[in-house]
């Protein structure tokens, strides 16, 4: 599964995207995956520090962090939108 990072998620984690083993996501929610990522290192810990500004989309559809990842092909993390 592809994980995309936007705005300061990309800056803090240091990459725009990465591929994660689908098996790592099996039966997991997005929040579960965040806990796994945070263990990977300081850059992830910093990015996900304030969970209140963490938004996620599964296959380009914004969903709550409690959503099971299931068979999604793309997961994106980003802060609140500031376009317009």
């Amino acid at each position: 599964m592809k994980i995309l990072y936007f705005a300061w998620f990309r800056d803090r984690i240091g990459k725009p995207e990465e591929t994660i083993n689908a098996a790592d996501c099996e039966n997991k929610t997005i929040a579960d995956l965040i806990r796994l990522l945070v263990e990977r290192g300081e850059e992830y810990a910093t990015a996900f520090e304030d969970i209140s500004v963490v938004h996620a989309a599964l296959d380009m559809e914004e969903v709550p962090l409690t959503t099971p990842i299931g068979k999604a092909r793309e997961l994106a993390f980003y802060p609140p939108f500031t376009g317009g």
């Binding site: 300061w8 380009m60 994106a76 980003y78 609140p80 376009g83 317009g84």
Partner: protein
């Protein structure tokens, strides 16, 4: 119609194309967002608009469809620019057209409120004080909330 593009747009030309040969349109509202040289007291030299390709277009199309569902619009257009912008540059264009002005005004406000809070765009500002990602504003969130019920009659 919705467009996400790096290039600038011409608001007058877009309006002309939209209302050309139409004689059922009585009112059009064109909103343009312009880049300011100062934001929250900080000088800004460059503002970069980032977006989530694919999801951004999908979100804008959905927001436009919602507006056309709520108001009797004869035509509508959303253009959102991405990439680096300078003070004075145009950022976003929303045009709504209807038989009467109330629908055009309300739909344009709705489109702006929703695209600010429901479409995946992010602004990064660079200036003499450094670089920062713009924070979402409560006022934008509140503005968007007022449309969650049915439109004003």
């Amino acid at each position: 119609m919705i467009l996400v593009q790096q290039s600038d747009f011409d608001p007058g030309h877009e309006l002309d194309k939209l209302v050309k040969d139409r004689t059922d349109i009585g009112a059009s509202v064109s909103f343009v967002g312009h880049m300011r040289a100062r934001n929250n007291g900080r000088a800004v030299e460059t503002m970069t608009l980032e977006h989530y390709p694919g999801m951004a277009e999908k979100a804008l199309a959905r927001i436009e469809a919602e507006a056309r569902d709520r108001w009797p619009l004869d035509a509508s257009l959303i253009i959102h620019r991405v990439g680096p912008l300078k003070p004075g540059d145009r950022i976003v264009l929303v045009i709504t057209a209807s038989a009467h002005r109330q629908a055009a005004f309300e739909a344009a406000e709705f489109l702006m409120d929703w695209l600010k809070t429901k479409a995946p765009f992010w602004k990064k500002e660079e200036g003499p004080d450094g670089t920062n990602w713009v924070a979402a504003k409560d006022t934008d969130e509140n503005a968007a909330q007022r449309w969650t019920a049915s439109p004003k009659s």
